[in-house]
Amino acid sequence: MLVETRALTKIYGPKTALDHCDLEIPHGEVLGLLGPNGAGKTTLLRLLMGYLRPSGGTARIDGLDCYRHSVAVHHRVAYLPGDARLFPQMRGREVLRFFCEVRRDSDLSRALDFAERLELDLTGPVASYSTGMRQKLALAAVLAADTPLLILDEPTANLDPTVRSDVVAIVREAQQAGRTVIFSSHVLDEVEDACSRVCILRKGKLVHTQIMSELLRQHRIRARITGQLPPPPPRLAGEIQIHYDAADAVRIDTPGELSPLLGWLATLPLAEVRIEPFRLRSIYDRFHGAEVQ
């Protein structure tokens, strides 16, 4: 495991920001962190970076304690904070040069390539940059470091849709290059596109872990009922879940392959049938939707 936390806890006075978080991230995985503001995502990332002393439990990266051996850990991690702020008196290019010089695993030409890809003008002083430009600059600086672990805390915040897609593509490329990525975001579509596993946090607790390939195998069928619906055959009864949304509307959730279901579906008195893949939204809403609140 590259990242490992055991009962990791952070308490601020009366508030428990992170509560006994157990997490394992193997090499090469892109892990998404989901949750609303205050769920504990950033606290978890800051504990991994050694910025915070844990109130309990441990956090390790590559076997190193994140708090005690933070410098050794930082040799293995490139981190983009949620609200990346850079030295306002420097010019864009100077910022990239600074970060490339401060860490030996970074490469200025790679940083410049990323800046070009993100369509960033490096000639002006950072003080004159918009929030989006600052975010792009920080991304270029972080991505230039050749580390086994990349931690991105809301990397697409303040970016336009085109650049957001670029960032997701860059994350995928990082995974293909064998790097591990922790990707925290509020944008479910991006997490769905970029991540192989997703952890959902709620009020400081890790409440659900979802493997994306399993989620993508699941489907939801919505239809209007035109007659009496017979019970499902025994081979499917344990597999599917049938919900009646209204007197004439049905929702059938299938956790696995769709093909065994198709023959049975064709025999049912249904109209206006819609088959849609299960989305992260439905999982997320289980923990943070209106019904929970």
């Binding site: 002393r53 904070p81 609200d83 860490r103 600086a141």
Partner: protein, 275 residues
């Protein structure tokens, strides 16, 4: 410690203020020598004798010594321009060390790099100390340039002014150390500056009361102002090096202790997310 990029950043952060203050202190001290040359010693001595004894007590130097070529130039070392410039440098730089970077949100990216927190603090402290030495040198060079170019009626050496300049350096080191310590506990630079401003005023009040009121003379042990006597060190040249060792030793010793405390606090504290 050996990270060139950190050094370059620390120097880049400091250079504008340092450049301005160096120029100001050099020119001011040169000008002060020139202006001193325009004041006749006889009338100055007579005027000083008319002042109430409390003024002499407060100034910390005998008025008879002030009415000399060295004495009147030494007043530059306690002139508000010099004291404020050196104080601005020390508190400005010290307050920026931790709470300044946290307040701007730049600490986050800085300590995400494989550098120790100690090296971040130490680099900043060394540049501040180097800057303090440059400012003290500018004061001395300004005086020396003035002495070399202005006619004072008799030859005055720059040597008596060296202990005074060293004392100014020690004061800057002390104030920067205390400011860095306060900064290391704080998240807002404006609050650090506020705390240091209040500290400075209280210390000044202690010095004034301690000097003027006999029964409160014990307050002189509680203020750095007691060890900050650049003018006295210039005037009393015979005792200057003995006093310099004592005064500067105290200021640098306490300043150093504050830096150590600052390093311990900064290396152990939680770093908040940008505010």
């Amino acid at each position: 410690m050996g990270n060139k990029a950190l050094w370059r950043k620390a120097i880049s952060d400091a250079r504008l203020l340092l450049f301005f203050l160096t120029g100001l202190l050099f020119c001011f001290n040169w000008l002060f020598v020139y202006l001193s040359s325009l004041i006749e010693l006889g009338p100055l001595g007579a005027f000083l004798q008319t002042l109430p004894p409390a003024f002499e007590k407060l100034s910390g130097v005998p008025f008879s010594s002030v009415a000399t070529p060295v004495g009147r130039i030494s007043a530059a070392y306690v002139d508000p321009v010099v004291l404020f410039s050196t104080t601005i440098w020390a508190i400005g730089r010290g307050s920026d060390a931790v709470s300044g970077e946290i307040g701007r949100g730049t600490m986050e990216m800085l300590v995400a790099q494989p550098v120790t927190r100690l090296s971040v603090l130490l680099t900043q402290a060394l540049v501040t100390t180097l800057g303090s030495a440059i400012l003290a040198t500018a004061v001395l060079l300004g005086t020396s340039a003035g002495l070399a170019t202005v006619s004072l009626g008799e030859e005055v050496s720059w040597r008596p002014f060296l202990p005074g300049a060293l004392n100014l350096f020690a004061m800057m080191f002390f104030l920067a150390g205390v400011s860095t310590m306060v900064s290391s506990t704080d998240n807002f630079r404006w609050r650090t500056i506020g705390v240091m401003g209040a500290f400075y005023v209280v210390q000044l009040v202690f010095k004034v009361i301690g000097r003027l009121v006999e029964r409160f003379s014990w307050l002189l042990y509680l203020t750095f102002g007691t060890a900050c006597e650049p003018q006295a060190l210039v005037i009393d040249f015979d005792q200057a090096w003995t006093l310099s060792l004592k005064y500067d030793g105290v200021l640098i010793g306490i300043g150093l202790a504050c830096y150590v405390v600052a390093a311990i606090i900064f290396c152990r504290r939680d770093l908040p997310a940008p505010l």
